[in-house]
Symmetry: C2
Subunit: 468 residues, 2 copies
């Protein structure tokens, strides 16, 4: 039985087995107390070993991290903090640890634990993070499934630079060593695996549009990649993205869907990972002690967002607010330039004191595929900004008019050839459609309150870091 | 309202709007019949336009694939095959098609549709395939979630060759053109994005083990990659894999979990994609007509598997059965050699007439990480074989003993350095654990009855093919 189920039992003296990893051992004269966790939940099981138990000597000398199975009687606990405890009658040792075990009480900085990413799911903190991650993934599927969306696995390998940003990883089966040794005028891609230059996807949106234009409502939830040289607490080279795409939906519907989704994620976390959120909050509170960082209970912020109405303003209005704010920004807000995080946070945290969706950005700030407004200057883009983070979602209504789309691609100097199929969507049975993207780790960082995005993904990939 | 919901209504003369893509238009003197599909379900809505309807002339001349919105009254239908139909009062045309629209009635070979992968979700057949795909993805999450497993996103980018098979895609941010032009003795990987040679993952298992050894039961469901030069109806270069990994589970438990999972997938498909399965079955039946192919109703095969007990035999016993079968195989079955698909299919289809799990393979047939049996010759591997396909799942109990694992890696000439973290799992708090892998597209091919695996993934990637 897993500890999650054991902790739900009443201590009615039934005999059970409990397995897991030792979190701590405390020895007194006649007893030994072991705290056991098996990862099934945030809670731990207290095991009491009497000194006359068979194997007591070996068991009471086990170190933190050892893997054991106890057989014993589950009884009501006298101690604080638990309802039941296990009176051990026997013990089986699966695997010991020694003093080299990296997860000692003292050595638990987040930086250090990142270097021990294979072991960190055994800690209280990362157990909470990764169970929360699981619940939010389930929430994502449930949210879209309930609304009649179909899950789409957009391709990871692609020959298209969908964002036109160019920060992509090359994929090849060429032997790089051999390649470097030779001296050629040109690479003969016809001899590469796919017969042409190939990259890792930066988005699944364009393929999402193909499917929306036939299946109505779809969403992707898969890995995407950016080869930017960004070493920040907000950037990963490999991250999971959620991208719904909906036929016949305009920007209004898109903004509503995005707000509903964010609120759903938060509610689901409270409902399905309450213990984990609480453990995280306590961790943040504890970490802030003795530092200069201002501690703010992030659960209260989430509670507020969960029940709020998302404000909606245009980009032009946002610029006006920022310019009139009297606030000193590092970058002075100016029409025509993308909002900076400091601007976004001012709007959400100080001006609206809640989530706000900014729409109708200057076309030059945004990608080629966004629906052009009649003013000739702005596009039907939207960014959802939340307190504490800034932008958490970016999306748009897509340009469904073939001529306008081609004109925009030409203006931007884009090659149309590789996107013939994308243009086909406008050529044959075109329809209005919209969608957005939510970086799963950005959302998880927000809801967990973890400061570094590397601490919410199992094995983070960042510049010069591809361990495990 | 989506057509899925519309078709559930009774025809009580309510006024509704229906949007979608035209599947067919049939004109008579006074009426026009339009068949409309919006991808929300297998069903279509019949729309009747009276010739006195505003915009009738344009609407009745629309070609297949056009995207429209009808407003009208939903009434009980007199015609066969539908309960309700829409009496159109008005029409709005979103996007027309012309005679260049590729999805004409005549041109619908699967090969041709693969070249139109951006449009094929609009067809009856691929609508069925991709809605079924969605349902089986949901089934997967639900199956594991219900059993207390946590979803793990194992990394896609990796510096490890986890299977030791070497058929991997290289990932780099080096400019290949520049690289080819130079002439260097060695590649200076310290200047590459990750500072070392990096590949796309072939499995998430090793990382799954890290998480199982702390969170108990986990599963991955993500893309994996093989750079094999295999152009077959069973191989993809990019495919989605499901890999559960469970602490304290032995091979018996693993085999049970695998059988339960396969049966769950099939049951879920019948329960949640019945219309799609039926459409697929009809397609297969229709396709077999006038060919030499023997048609077998694959739904009857699935029904049987769903309710069957999976037989269990050892590899040694399997070899014995094959050798005694009197059957002529292309490859003669011999102890020590991996089973061929023809062997697997004989076992499942002819001998056991149902699914069978083969265990305890010769160690030289299998990967380094499998638990070694005491006989010194075999390992605790298992393959699940099903009629019609052969192997659908491969798994094993993992070697949890550090010394045995190191000895095996040495025997196989493996470098231990890159796997220090994997060895740590045995060094600190080791425990018995097991898991398996199911190729999602293999399962989908099996359940859909589609013959080519390229037809069950949205945008297939195979040698020389990375379009869209």
């Amino acid at each position: 039985m897993r500890i999650k189920e054991i902790l739900k039992l009443k201590g009615e003296n039934q005999t059970i087995k409990a397995r897991g990893w030792i979190r701590s051992v405390r020895n007194s004269k006649a007893f030994s107390f072991v705290v056991l966790n098996d990862g099934s939940c945030q809670g731990t099981l207290q095991v009491v070993m009497n000194s006359d138990m068979e194997g007591y000597e070996e068991a009471s000398s086990l170190l933190v991290g050892s893997c054991v199975e106890f057989t014993g009687e589950l009884v009501a606990s006298q101690g604080k903090g638990q309802n039941v405890e296990l009176q051990a009658k026997g013990v089986h040792i699966y695997g010991k640890t020694d003093e080299n075990y990296p997860l000692q009480k003292k050595a638990t900085s987040l930086e250090f634990l990142r270097e021990q990413a294979h072991l960190r799911p055994r800690t209280n903190l990362f157990g909470a993070v990764f169970r929360l991650r699981h619940q939010l993934a389930m929430a994502t599927h449930q949210f879209f499934h309930e609304r009649g969306f179909y899950y789409l696995n957009s391709p990871i390998l692609t020959a298209v630079d969908a964002e036109g940003a160019g920060e992509m990883f090359n994929v090849t089966t060429f032997d790089l060593e051999k390649m470097a040794k030779g001296s050629f005028d040109k690479v003969d891609y016809s001899r590469d695996y796919f017969g042409k230059p190939t990259n890792l996807c930066v988005t699944g949106q364009l393929e999402g549009e193909c499917f929306a234009m036939g299946m109505g409502s779809v969403y992707t939830f898969g890995p995407t990649f950016r080869a930017e040289n960004s070493n920040t607490p907000r950037h990963l080279s490999e991250f999971w993205m959620i991208e719904p795409e909906v036929a016949f939906m305009d920007l209004e519907g898109n903004a509503e869907l995005a707000a509903d989704f964010v609120k759903y994620l938060i509610s689901y976390a409270f409902d399905h990972a309450g213990d984990e959120l609480e453990a995280l909050q306590k961790y943040h509170q504890f970490s802030a002690k003795g530092t200069n960082e201002k501690y703010e209970n992030h659960l209260l912020v989430l509670e507020k967002v969960k029940d709020s109405t998302f404000e909606r303003i245009t980009y032009s209005k946002a610029i006006e607010i920022l310019q009139k704010s009297g606030k000193k920004f590092d970058f002075s807000p100016e029409w025509g330039v993308e909002l900076q995080t400091e601007h976004e946070r001012y709007l959400a945290e100080e001006f609206f004191k809640g989530p706000v969706t900014v729409t109708d950005y200057p076309k030059d700030c945004k990608a080629f595929y966004m629906k052009q407004n009649d003013d000739g200057k702005t596009v039907r883009a939207m960014d959802v900004l939340v307190p504490g983070v800034g932008e958490i979602i970016g999306g748009s209504q897509r340009e469904e008019d073939l001529d306008k789309l081609i004109k925009r691609m030409d203006e931007m100097g884009m090659e149309k050839g590789p996107l013939w199929w994308y243009l086909d969507l406008r050529r044959f049975g075109s329809a209005p459609h919209s969608g957005f993207g939510l970086g799963f780790e950005r959302a998880l960082r927000y809801i967990s309150g973890m400061k570094n995005i590397r601490d919410v993904i199992p094995f983070p990939r960042t510049p010069k870091n591809c361990d495990f």
